[in-house]
Structure formats: structure tokens, C-alpha cells
């Protein structure tokens, strides 16, 4: 990637900087040397006023010969060339001004601050969140409630990091109905972690007891899983050699913690990812095409401030697809309530307006533009709901 080219140019800058510094040092050293020589020769013949004069004019001549200022200037000039070249390379290989595609609208600071504070809390950065609330003066805030909601979750996760499952187990026990309704097997996952933990400590009986009390309720749905775990009882004390090494991997802890986070957020009515992270990530993907457009269409930059829809398609990753968008392949319009997508008898989908146009307002049959199927009757097209 171009980054290496940038690095090379930067190396050149530092090289020139070092050259310039050593030139300065040499020049100074030379001058010192010359003056020192002059001092020595004056001292050598203390009484000769004439000699002193000639020494001084000799010194002056020598300094002119060294031409320290032009030496310094030359070195600096080269350095300057390198410096401006680096800036040029930066401008060329990166977007010099990413605010080019910025729409100048009032972005309410209070709202942004609330979003940021909530983000800190939901990421578990409570200290930073508190500090931010203080500093920004956003005391009356929705973020405070966010803090409450998420502090319990992070306590549980924190405990899990310390291999303490108790808070997590308490939480799932309290919410077991809801979890079951969701079809989540989080409870079993946590219990099996705890079971393996006990087993690893070598207490076979304790593990057996634990299994008896806790696994029974899951036997209907997760028999295979439980059987595996019970087999492991035989390997107590030498679990590393048991036939199911996967039950001991640390990724189990990761996935369980992740699942817990997911369920917890779900119960809180919160998204799994921080909405700020999602939006910024989408922005980073969406900005380059917008910048490209702005560079190509400088004439349109005035219009940009008032456009109702982005002028260029911005393709985001799957992770950012939260809604179905139907674009009629013929008219390229996005479907709306008035212009919904319609399924033709052949299975292809167009929007209503297009079908109206092709069927001359349902007065005649038409041919599907995407397959050989002719004789499509507009009346038989069905509206779709995505």
C-alpha cells in the first residue's frame, strides 16, 4: 500500500534533518576553530598592534571563505524541499480534507454529549463516563440511567474474568423464564462452565452433586451436551486427556460472556453493539464514496447542502443492513408505500409504477424484462412485504 511510499518520503525528511543539524554543528565548530586560532595568534605576539590587525582581517577573510550562512541556508533549503514534498505526498495519497462532504447543519452538542456518555457507560468505561459527565456539565442526563443499567452487567462480566461465575448464575437464575422464552441456552452454558471448573479442581463428588442439582432441568433439550459433560467425570483429575477437550477451552468463556452480554442488552432493550461504534464504523465506510463524489462534482457542492438523498450509492457491509431496501431494477427507484414492490407470476419483482407503465395501466399484458415469460397480467401481480 501507499503507506510505504509515505514512509520512504518521511525517512528522507529525517535524513535531511540530520544532515542539516550536523551541517550547523560543523559550521559552528569551524567558526569556533577559526576564532580560537585568531585568539591564539594574537596572544602569541601581545605587543604587535599591527599583527593583531592582520590576524583579525585574516579571520574575517577566512570566515567569508567558510560562508557559514550560505552553508546553513543550503542545508535548510534541501530540508525544506523534503518537508514540502512530504506534505505533498500526504495530500496526494490521503484525503486532505475529509470535512469536504460535511453538511453544515447545527449538530446539537448536548445530544452528542449524551450519546458519548452513554457510549462510555455501555462499554464499561464508568470512570471516563463520570469524568466526562462532570466536565461537560451534562448532569441531567439519560446517560445516568445507562450507567445504572450497565453497571450490573459489567460487575457480572468482571467477576467472570476472575473465573467467578456466581453473579452470572444468580442473574440467569433470576431471568431463567425470559431466557427460556428466547431459546437461549445461556443457563446451561454457565452451569457447564461451573461444572468443568469444579471438576478441574479435582472434586469428583462435588461435580457430580452439582450436575445432579443443576443439569436436570435441561435434560429434555440438551441431552447430548449433558452426556458429554457427565463422561468427563471419568477423567476427573486428568481432564486434559478427556475425549472432549473443547469443553475446557477458554473460548467457551468468551462465547458465554458474549452470549450473556447479548441477552443482558436484549433484556435492557439495548442494542448489542454500541450505537456510536456502529454509526462511526458506518461513517468510515460511507465517507470515501462521498468524498470521491465531492471531488468529481465540485459544481454540485452547493446542492449537497440541501439534498434529500445522498447523490451516490453508499454500500455498507452486511453488518449495517438493518432494513430491507427494495430498488426497482427497471426504474431504479426505491420502493415506498405508494410504490410497493410487486411479485410477477414468473417470480421476478418490479415496483408498482414500473408495472403500471409496462401494462399501460393494467390494460394489456406485458413481457417480463428478466425472463422469457410473456403474458404477464398486472392484475395477477402480488404486493410484497419485506
Amino acid at each position: 500500500m501507499e503507506l510505504n511510499a509515505i514512509k520512504d518520503v518521511f525517512d528522507h525528511v529525517t535524513k535531511k534533518q540530520k544532515v542539516s543539524t550536523s551541517t550547523s554543528q560543523e559550521v559552528i565548530e569551524d567558526i569556533v576553530q577559526e576564532i580560537q586560532n585568531a585568539i591564539d595568534s594574537i596572544k602569541a605576539c601581545p605587543d604587535s598592534q599591527l599583527g593583531c590587525k592582520s590576524v583579525l582581517s585574516e579571520l574575517k577573510r577566512k570566515l567569508q571563505e567558510i560562508a557559514p550562512l550560505s552553508q546553513l541556508e543550503d542545508a535548510q533549503k534541501e530540508l525544506n524541499v523534503a518537508l514540502s514534498k512530504y506534505l505533498k505526498v500526504l495530500d496526494k495519497s490521503l484525503w486532505p480534507d475529509i470535512s469536504k462532504a460535511y453538511r453544515h447543519v447545527e449538530f446539537d452538542t448536548h445530544t452528542i454529549n449524551q450519546i458519548i456518555a452513554s457510549h462510555f457507560y455501555r462499554q464499561g468505561l464508568f470512570d471516563i463516563g463520570d469524568c466526562f459527565i462532570n466536565e461537560s456539565g451534562e448532569t441531567e442526563s439519560d446517560a445516568a440511567s445507562m450507567r445504572l443499567l450497565f453497571s450490573e452487567m459489567y460487575q457480572i462480566l468482571e467477576a467472570m474474568k476472575g473465573l467467578n461465575l456466581e453473579p452470572a448464575l444468580n442473574w440467569v437464575a433470576a431471568n431463567s423464564d425470559k431466557l427460556e422464552g428466547n431459546g437461549s441456552d445461556l443457563q446451561l452454558k454457565l452451569h457447564s462452565l461451573q461444572f468443568v471448573e469444579i471438576l478441574q479442581n479435582g472434586c469428583k463428588n462435588q461435580a457430580l452433586n452439582y450436575a445432579r442439582t443443576n443439569f436436570a432441568s435441561f435434560s429434555a433439550k440438551h441431552m447430548a451436551e449433558i452426556q458429554k459433560l457427565m463422561t468427563c467425570l471419568l477423567w476427573a483429575g486428568k481432564l486434559d486427556r478427556c475425549p472432549y477437550p473443547e469443553i475446557m477451552t477458554t473460548t467457551n468463556w468468551h462465547t458465554t460472556a458474549e452470549e450473556l452480554t447479548r441477552q443482558f442488552c436484549n433484556f435492557l432493550g439495548q442494542s448489542y453493539e454500541s450505537p456510536l461504534s456502529v454509526t462511526i464504523a458506518a461513517g468510515i465506510q460511507g465517507l470515501p464514496p462521498l468524498l470521491k463524489f465531492m471531488t468529481l462534482m465540485t459544481a454540485k457542492s452547493q446542492e449537497w447542502q440541501s439534498m434529500k438523498q445522498l447523490p451516490v450509492p453508499v454500500d455498507l457491509d452486511k453488518d449495517f443492513q438493518f432494513h430491507s431496501v427494495f430498488v426497482c431494477p427497471v426504474s431504479k427507484d426505491q420502493s415506498t408505500d405508494e410504490n410497493p414492490p410487486m411479485l410477477m407470476t414468473c417470480g421476478h419483482v418490479l415496483c408498482k409504477q414500473t408495472i403500471n407503465k409496462m401494462s399501460k395501466n393494467s390494460t394489456k399484458t406485458f413481457k417480463c424484462p428478466y425472463c422469457p415469460c410473456g403474458d404477464i397480467d398486472a392484475m395477477q401481480c402480488r404486493q410484497l412485504h419485506f
Binding site: 510505504n4 514512509k7 542539516s20 554543528q25 559552528i28 576564532i35 585568539i39 596572544k43 590587525k53 579571520l59 557559514p68 550562512l69 546553513l72 500526504l90 495530500d91 490521503l94 453538511r103 449538530f107 452538542t109 445530544t111 452528542i112 450519546i115 458519548i116 464499561g124 466526562f132 462532570n134 462480566l157 474474568k161 422464552g181 428466547n182 460472556a257 447479548r262 436484549n266 448489542y272 461504534s277 454509526t279 462511526i280 464504523a281 458506518a282 461513517g283 468510515i284 465506510q285 460511507g286 438523498q309 445522498l310 457491509d317 452486511k318 453488518d319 438493518f322 432494513h323 430491507s324 431496501v325 430498488v327 411479485l343 421476478h348 419483482v349 402480488r382 410484497l384 412485504h385 419485506f386
Partner: protein, 391 residues
Amino acid sequence: MEIDPPQNGAASTNSPNVTTPVTATTTATTAAAAAAAATITVPSSKLAQLTESIKLEHQFLRVPFEHYKKTIRANHRSVEKEVSSVISGVSEVAASDFSNEDAVNHLTSLVSRLQGLKRKLEEGSRTENLQAQRCRARLDHLGSVDVENISEWNNTRLKRILVDYMLRMSYYDTAVKLAESSNIQVLDLLVLVGLVIPSCAFCHGSPLTFQYLYLVVSVFQLNAPKPKKYYLSINYATILGCHNNSFYVVQILFEPKQWDYLVDQFKQEFCKLYGMTLEPLLNIYLQAGLSALKTPNCYEDDCTREDPLSQKSFRKLALPLPYSKQHHSKLVCYITKELMDTENPPQVLPNGYVYSTKALKEMSENNNGKITCPRTGLVCDYKELVKAYIS
């Protein structure tokens, strides 16, 4: 062991054997499946995206470089000045009628002056090297991103963006805390601090009621080639003087509007000088992101909560922004929230409602071939479904 906070696209290992009965309320678990599916495909398009996103980091590289450049210039100027004054000192001695002893004294003082300069030069070059290192650290950071560490890297980037915001808004303590929390001290995120804080001090808590205001600007920011230039462009601002080359005192015939205007001007010039964007990075990315995410569906009641635009605050920010544009249909299954494509094509129920093949298959397997539409309650046979072809 360590459990990372939830990160974008980080859901890498979701146990594939989660057999969840599919109902409309399983948003969370199904989103997990979607995320897991998304991370399986990490191919070249991800890398291309990465390259594109690095191109947005102009400010990140430019700011420390401007610092570096400034130090180089300042060092050079001081060397030049001293050397030329030593040379003229020599000429003076040569031209005068000093006694030998006086001449020697003069010359000796010149030598010690040069010795002092040498020390200063060494110090200056140390600073230069330090700043060069800082520039390089940032270059290296940009180069360090690859497919494996991308989620962590993205996390860091968000923190960088937030630090930028904090500094611009003069939330200094938060900025410091955040920078420290992220283990990226190498990047010296706070390089911006010295730069931005003074400019912000203008806007916050400045007394607006005085007849005359004294605006003190540390020349640290202003010893750009021609500092005065920036002030001469401002009406009503008079440069009273400069003291010791470290402070400019600007007196303004005061009017609240003029004050705002001045603050604005200053900020603009300041940002331009250091290659910073006028707006906080956060605002720029937020805007682009909101526009890219904004669809008419976002404002409906059944908007999934995974969509940032389901939240009031985000909706508010997005209100004046344009909707996203798509050239091709992107269909998301209502049940699984997964993308419906050729591998998981959409199927149509007799009532016109569309769901993904995957969801419907699973539902019919669990219900003896029967399908219940989660939105209308219609019950039908799996055989009654027809495929829809979306191009």
C-alpha cells in the same frame, strides 16, 4: 483471561450448534448468527475498505508533522541569527581600534556565545528527533492494521476520534483519561492538547460583559512564519504589542458578535495551519454514518434496536441529513435479520410476506411443514411458498 467489550464485527466464534426455535422475539440470538456469518467473509473487499479508511487519516499524520516542521524552522532560525551576529561581531572587532587585550576578550566572548549555541542546537535536535519519532509512530500505527487485529484497531480509532472531540471541546481531563485507557500512549494522542486547548478556552466561560477584552494567545501556536497575518485579517482587533515574543495581547473593541466572529476566525486559521479539519472528526464521521444508515424504515416503530437510528438521540441528529441511496436491493429477513441473497433466497408466503429460505425451512422443520407468518399470523404449508427473484 480477558473478555473484550463488544466490538463491531468481533463476534467471531459463535457456537454453531445453537438450535433456537425461531420466533419473532429472538432478535438477539439471531443477530448473533448474522454477525457470525458476516465474519466468515473477510476477503479482499475488507482489505480494500481498510485501505480506503486509512486515506481518511490525513489529520492524524499531518498534525505531528506540522509540529516537527515548526521545531525545525525555529531551530534553524535561531542558529542563523546567532551565527550571523557572531560574524558581524568579528567584523566589528576587525574594524575597531581595540587594544589586543580587548580584541581577545571580544573574540573570547564570541566563542562562548557559539558554545552556548552549540548546546542549544543539541537540545533542539533532540526535540526534533523526538517529534520525528512521534510522526513515525503514527505512520507505523496506520501500517499495523490487518485483518486479524482490525476490531481492536477500529476500537482504537473510535477512541482517537473521541479524544479529538474532547480536546476540541476542552474536556481535557476526559481526553487524558481516555487516551491513557486505550494503551496507545505511543501515539501521543495528546499532541493535540497544547494546540487545541487555548483555542477552545476562547469559547468557554469567557466573560462576555467587559467593555474591553484582552485576548492572550500563547505564541506557541502563533509563531508560524507570520503570526501577525492571522490577526490583521480580523477587523477591530489591534495588536497592542508583543512581549518577549511569548505573548500577543490583542485588544478588541468589544461587541458580542465581534467576539464570536473572532473566535471563529481564530479557530479556522488555527485548524488550517495545523492541517486539522474544521469540524471535530466525530461530527464528520457521525454525519457520514448517519446518512449512510438512514432509510425511511429507520423512523418506523418496529425498527430493530440494533440500528442506531432506532434511538431518539440518533434520530434527532440524522433529521437534517440526507437519506442513503442504494442502486441494488438489499433485503433483510424479518425473522433472522440476515441478508437474503442467492444463497439464502427470499420466499413469498401466500399473503405476500417475504422471509428468508433459511428461516422458513427451520420453521417448517420444527412444525411439521407448517409456516406461521410472524407478522400476520397466517398459517400455511411450506409447499405453498414461491421463490422471489430479486435482481
